[in-house]
């Protein structure tokens, strides 16, 4: 217990990872094992699923029932939505975005991937790299998840064979060579028996790498944020009407990139006015520097006009400011994307509207093929499009910055989020 008390716990890092797959891949078993072995399942939760498993006439305690939270999911035995799960070890705290793996749930995979530092991709050792594997790898790559851990599961069913593992590894590397460079790791596991999940396997001497949990605990993630380009979308203007803070005008927001210090020369976009950072304010006092993803308030030396939706950026590393923007889009609505259609846009803290100018191609997310003849973008499709916005946006490419390079499209009649887009 001592490791949980105070200083150790207070200094832990947070790792967000996503898993994709179906019950058949052993995904739920793997998550169940991580939660169970890290003592994150409580007895009342375990007893509840034990009881349900018996009532459903199952032979074993079905750990999938832990993650399938909605009645419809339990009835159908499938994961429909993204479920968030939490566990902690003495070294790190983890958030799992657990998503379904089938193609009709691509939008849920994209949602889970959007905030992840790492993706766990499961491959059944008996089946090797299949279409679903490619799709998960391609989605992870489009969403620019910095680290991918490929778990070759069910090694117990292939007699813990090194050859099988190496051959699957080779197939996956061939697939990954078509994707933008990514930090790749491979682990042979048996989620059912616990080989290389939390503890090293005694059945695979030939594997000298870390167990999955060890890798999750030690993966270097501090450089996943962009600490080069200064980006601060103004979220809210704090103006106290009090004598104590008479001239205080704080620009509240969450840093989206770079390191800010008092004295830094900045530009307010899209207006282009320049100023200097006077102070970085928080409830707990002023800071000498602040970086992504901290929520702070900036004050400026000059009385310049800045409001919600504006971007405060470093003068030497400015984002692009423009209205004609090219996007990779994942469509999330039953109503198809309409060329010439108008949509609401949310980008950083800016609300705007846009018109879809053209669809350049649809991307086959199992093969990466670009189909220029098929430009109908429907539910779960991924494509390349061009839009024009009503007002200039200050943006970066998604590969440069996941915060300033992403936006969502909103149906103006239903207000539903219909598209998730990455700026090219």
């Amino acid at each position: 217990m001592s490791e949980f008390t105070n200083s150790g716990y207070l200094n832990m890092e947070l790792l967000r990872f996503t898993t994709a797959g179906s019950v058949d891949d052993g995904k739920s078993t793997l998550i169940g094992r991580l939660l169970y072995d890290s003592k994150s399942i409580f007895t009342d939760q375990y007893e509840a699923i034990e009881k349900s498993s018996v009532l459903r006439g199952e032979d074993y305690v079905n750990l999938a029932l832990l993650t399938d939270g909605l009645r419809a999911e339990r009835e159908q035995g499938i994961t429909i939505d993204v479920a968030y799960r939490y566990f902690a070890t003495p070294k790190r705290k983890f958030i799992i975005a657990d998503t379904p793996g089938h193609i009709e749930y691509t939008r849920n995979m994209v949602t889970g991937a959007s905030t992840a530092n790492l993706a766990v991709i499961l491959i059944d050792a008996r089946k090797g790299v299949v279409e679903q594997t490619s799709r998960h790898a391609i989605i992870a790559s489009i969403l620019e998840i910095p680290h991918i851990v490929v778990c070759v599961n069910k090694m117990d069913l292939v007699e813990y064979s090194e050859e099988v593992f190496l051959s699957i590894r080779k197939d996956f590397e061939a697939l990954a060579s078509h994707l933008p460079s990514v930090d790749l790791h491979f682990i042979p596991i048996s989620a059912l028996n616990g080989d290389n999940v939390v503890t090293d396997s005694a059945n695979m001497d030939w594997y000298t790498g870390p167990a999955l949990l060890t890798l999750l605990e030690t993966m270097y993630i501090a450089s996943d944020q962009n600490h080069q380009d200064q980006r601060f979308p103004v979220q809210y203007v704090v103006r106290p009407q009090s004598t104590e803070f008479h001239d205080y005008r704080g620009y509240a927001g969450r840093i989206a990139g770079g390191v800010f210090k008092p004295g830094d020369k900045v530009v307010i976009l899209p207006s282009g006015r320049q100023s200097t950072i006077k102070s970085i304010e928080t409830f707990d006092g002023q800071l000498n520097e602040a970086f992504a993803p901290m929520s702070v308030s900036l004050t400026l030396e000059d009385q310049v006009d800045a409001s919600r939706g504006d971007m405060i950026a470093g003068i030497h590393d400015q984002p692009t400011v423009g209205q004609d923007i090219e996007l990779t889009i994942c469509w999330m609505d039953v109503k198809k994307l309409a060329v010439g259609g108008k949509y609401g846009v949310k980008h950083t803290t800016r609300d705007a509207r846009c018109v879809v100018r053209e669809v350049q191609y649809k991307l086959n997310i199992s093969t990466l093929e670009k189909n220029v003849d098929d430009t109908e973008i429907g539910m779960n499709d991924v494509g390349r499009i061009k839009i024009r916005t009503t007002t200039p946006l200050a943006y970066d490419s998604y590969s440069r910055n996941r915060s300033t390079g992403s936006l969502i499209l909103i149906d103006e009649a239903t207000h539903i989020t219909v598209g998730a887009a990455m700026i090219v």
Partner: protein, 301 residues
């Protein structure tokens, strides 16, 4: 080269402040649902940080069942004064008196479900378009699928199968007339995170969370506080126990745990060693496997 990284509590704090500021920016009339429990306490602490040095630009709303622990009300009033917030109280007793809600009958009667009526009435009365709550995804399986920005239709209902996708840190709070949102800024916190944060930030909490002697009855394996609100059977004994509470809800349905913990550090050790979830002591969740999902669909917190 210098590296920049945040601890997980700093990252969670920053995420929550970001969500709370987004509420103030996107909605006309938000309110923060305040129960006097630890989750709504850290929520109001985070709101105070988000808008410093101004006051929280929206009121706290307490849905008062009339079955509160007196310690909760005492704490509520001193905390509201300390942070300089405005407090609105919506009364379940008033809903009952007005015939809008009917008291449950039987041994396990509770006003927990009735709170939904009072809450939805208060949302209409004050024209609240965003009700900020302290629910966490680790608490209960239906809550694991909840969004930060959770849409409610004009009847206050939640449609879990048809939720808006929520990507990156982009929160879509657009809605039609009469609809509202429930906002959950501490979705990603666990019980342990909350306790560690209370410890780190030195936030005052109600005395109920610390050990004390209390007259309780044991029912279905749960220790319930003896009070005028809880009907007791002749076969049930009222005994004195050394207890504390892991959650603070109504006197009629919040289970006490045997505990000698007198300090936050001792509580944290207990939480780390606990083998039962904090809601394991909540009689209201035990009614059926989908008890929480059903209540949430109807408009519960």
């Amino acid at each position: 080269m210098q590296t920049y990284g945040l601890t997980h509590l700093d990252e969670l704090e920053s995420e929550s402040i970001n969500v709370i500021r987004e509420v103030a920016a996107q909605f006309e009339r938000p309110a923060l649902l305040f129960s006097g429990g630890k989750d709504s306490i850290i929520l109001s602490h985070l709101a105070r940080k988000a808008f410093w040095p101004t006051r929280i630009p929206f009121p706290l709303l307490h849905v008062d069942t009339g079955h509160n622990f007196p310690e909760t009300i005492e704490y509520r009033d001193s905390w509201v004064e300390e942070i300089g917030a405005r407090l609105l109280v919506a009364s379940v007793q008033k809903s009952i008196d007005a015939g809008r809600a009917v008291e449950e009958k039987g041994w396990n009667a509770s006003r927990n479900v009735l709170q939904t009526v009072t809450l939805l009435d208060a949302i209409e009365e004050y024209k609240i378009d965003a009700a900020i709550g302290g629910a966490r995804r680790d608490e209960e399986k239906a809550r694991a699928k909840e969004r930060f920005f959770s849409h409610r239709d004009e009847f206050g209902q939640w449609d879990p199968k048809n939720q808006r996708p929520e990507l990156w840190n982009l929160f879509n709070g657009k809605k039609s007339q009469g609809e509202h949102f429930r906002i959950f800024p501490i979705s990603n916190w666990t019980e342990m995170d909350v306790w560690q944060y209370i410890y780190r930030e030195n936030i005052p909490i109600p005395t109920l969370y610390f050990t004390h002697l209390r007259r309780c009855i044991e029912r279905d394996g749960v220790l319930l506080a003896h009070s005028p609100f809880l009907p007791t059977r002749d076969t049930e004994n009222v005994d004195e126990y050394q207890v504390r509470f892991r959650t603070v809800g109504d006197m009629t349905c919040t289970g006490a745990v045997l505990s000698p913990a007198t300090t936050l550090q001792e509580i944290i050790q207990e939480v780390a060693a606990a083998r039962v979830t904090e809601r394991g002591g909540r009689a209201d969740d035990k009614r059926s496997e989908a008890a929480m999902e059903n209540r949430k669909k109807e408009g519960y917190f």
